[in-house]
């Protein structure tokens, strides 16, 4: 991967994805050591800019940067000058003045990360922009799946729920297709747009045939959307699209990007079953995000590269 940013999963291609997954394996090994920290990004600065609430993504990006020895600052909309009315652009320009090597961006508007990439010299990582993309979630899902099932090629994956509003689904479909999976999306017609099929997946409106899936990927159902006019009632949703113990076939695995609404998209017993990979996904988050930071920052851009501009003659020698 020679790109400076990770804005969409499509930036990577199969080769780029393979590289990051391989690196993530190395970092997963580091996580098993008594000292889980390597000096790779010593002296670099990483800024996490979170305009939306997040537990997993934010904490795992923070841990990932720390375990690579970078200096990390996390800025949240809540409690920052954004609350005083500072614009998104001014916030980015202010933070860029610290000369960070990378800015990790989570924002409620599609395209926000791309804007940051235009405004700042830092490498930008999209940590979820509105309904658009969430590429590192897709990468950690691939990593988790391949660890558990040993392969990705030919897996049948059903993504179930509110596909229309889901950046996880959008990045996930592209990533899974790139790696050779067969993808079906499923949910209430009001929450599954037909146009999603253009990403190379099949579209279903009921769970008939779900028993043939290898992987069931449930999306978070946002109660506020269900309560509105766009979707059937919660009770109907549970009846028709919830994955419970009866619908889960032995051998299938269940995934969810979190946070789970127990008893809505997944029955509680399914969340806690050995077939659930939900905790594995969280665990994979740190190693995968270390791999992404490493790919974007080690060697390219950043303070170190500028410092060494005059020393390129001195090619690194194998010692």
């Amino acid at each position: 991967m020679s790109a400076r940013h990770l804005l969409a999963i499509g930036d990577l291609g199969r080769e780029g994805i393979e590289r990051i997954l391989a690196r993530a394996e190395s970092f997963a090994e580091v996580a098993g050591r008594p000292i889980k920290k390597v000096p790779t990004l010593r002296g670099r600065t990483v800024i996490n800019l979170f305009m939306e609430p997040s537990t997993r993504t934010q904490s795992s990006f923070e841990l990932a940067a720390k375990r690579l020895s970078a200096d990390v600052v996390t800025v949240k909309a809540q409690g920052s000058s954004v609350e005083k009315g500072e614009s998104f652009k001014d916030t980015v320009l202010t933070l860029s003045a610290y000369d960070p090597s990378a800015i990790v961006v989570r924002a409620p508007h599609a395209g926000a990360a791309a804007l940051v990439a235009r405004w700042s010299r830092a490498s930008v990582i999209n940590a979820g922009d509105g309904k658009h993309e969430h590429p590192t979630q897709a990468l950690l899902d691939l990593f988790t799946l391949r660890r558990r099932l040993g392969r990705l090629d030919g897996l049948r994956v059903w993504i179930i729920g509110d596909v229309a509003h889901s950046r996880v689904a959008r990045s996930g479909i592209v990533a899974l297709r790139t790696m050779g999976c067969e993808v079906t999306v499923c949910g209430p017609p009001t929450l599954v747009p037909r146009a999603i099929a253009e990403l190379g997946c099949s579209v279903r409106y009921d769970l008939a045939g779900v028993e043939r899936a290898d992987v069931i990927y449930a999306l978070r159902v946002q109660r506020e959307r269900i309560a509105g006019i766009v979707a059937p009632s919660l009770r109907e949703y549970v009846e028709r699209w919830q994955i419970d113990g009866r619908r889960l076939r032995p051998g299938q695995v269940v995934m969810h990007p979190g946070p789970v609404n127990r008893g809505v998209e997944l029955a509680s017993e399914v969340c806690d079953s050995p077939q659930s990979l939900i905790v594995d996904q969280v665990e994979a988050g740190v190693a995968v995000r270390m791999a992404v930071l490493y790919e974007l920052l080690a060697g390219a851009g950043g303070d170190g590269a500028r410092l060494s501009a005059g020393r390129e003659q001195e090619a690194p020698q194998p010692a």
Partner: protein
């Protein structure tokens, strides 16, 4: 050569609590051979490990994105506190790789003692590091490259010196 080094390792570590750890990639192959010989001399199992130093390099930001090292496996599954660890590599040059390997080893605890074995010491150290066991001292110029070839990887055991293709000032 390795037989002699194996004898020296056993002599200097009379208690037999010694582990052999190869530095990726070539040091690992040499370390495997060395471990077998030391185990034979001690008539006991000898702990073995491998270590990849990519994440500990001091030149990552000096390398372009196209020249990033390939990351290989690190596996240290013995308590470093209780063993003398002999780090093994093919060529000792600036000492930077060894420095990184020592730092990597510390991620697994406080090593009881660390020693260094190399097939070939070519000089030109940039750090205060010296080997405990040397196969051969090989005076070289910085313009030369020392190649250690191994039967397991290259089909032949051989040490050769070549001129760097493009001489970098």
């Amino acid at each position: 050569m390795l037989v002699r080094i194996a004898h020296e390792i056993v002599e200097r570590n009379g208690d037999g609590r010694v582990a052999i750890v190869g530095i990726q990639p070539r040091g690992v192959v040499i370390a495997q051979r060395l471990r077998d010989k030391v185990a034979e001399l001690l008539a006991a199992d000898v702990r073995f490990g491998e270590i990849d130093i990519s994440f500990y390099r001091d030149d990552l930001s000096l390398r372009g994105p196209e020249h990033q090292p390939e990351v290989r496996e690190t596996r240290i599954d013995f308590p470093v506190e209780e063993h003398t660890t002999v780090l093994v590599d093919d060529v000792l040059y600036t000492g930077r790789t060894v420095r990184a390997a020592i730092e990597a080893l510390f991620a697994f605890g406080r090593p009881r003692r660390v020693q260094l074995a190399v097939v070939c010491d070519r000089g030109h150290r940039e750090l205060p590091i010296r080997p405990d066991y040397v196969g051969k001292n090989l005076p070289t110029s910085r313009r030369e490259r020392v190649n250690v070839r191994l039967a397991e990887v290259d089909g032949v055991d051989e040490v050769s010196i070549s001129e760097l293709a493009e001489v970098r000032a």
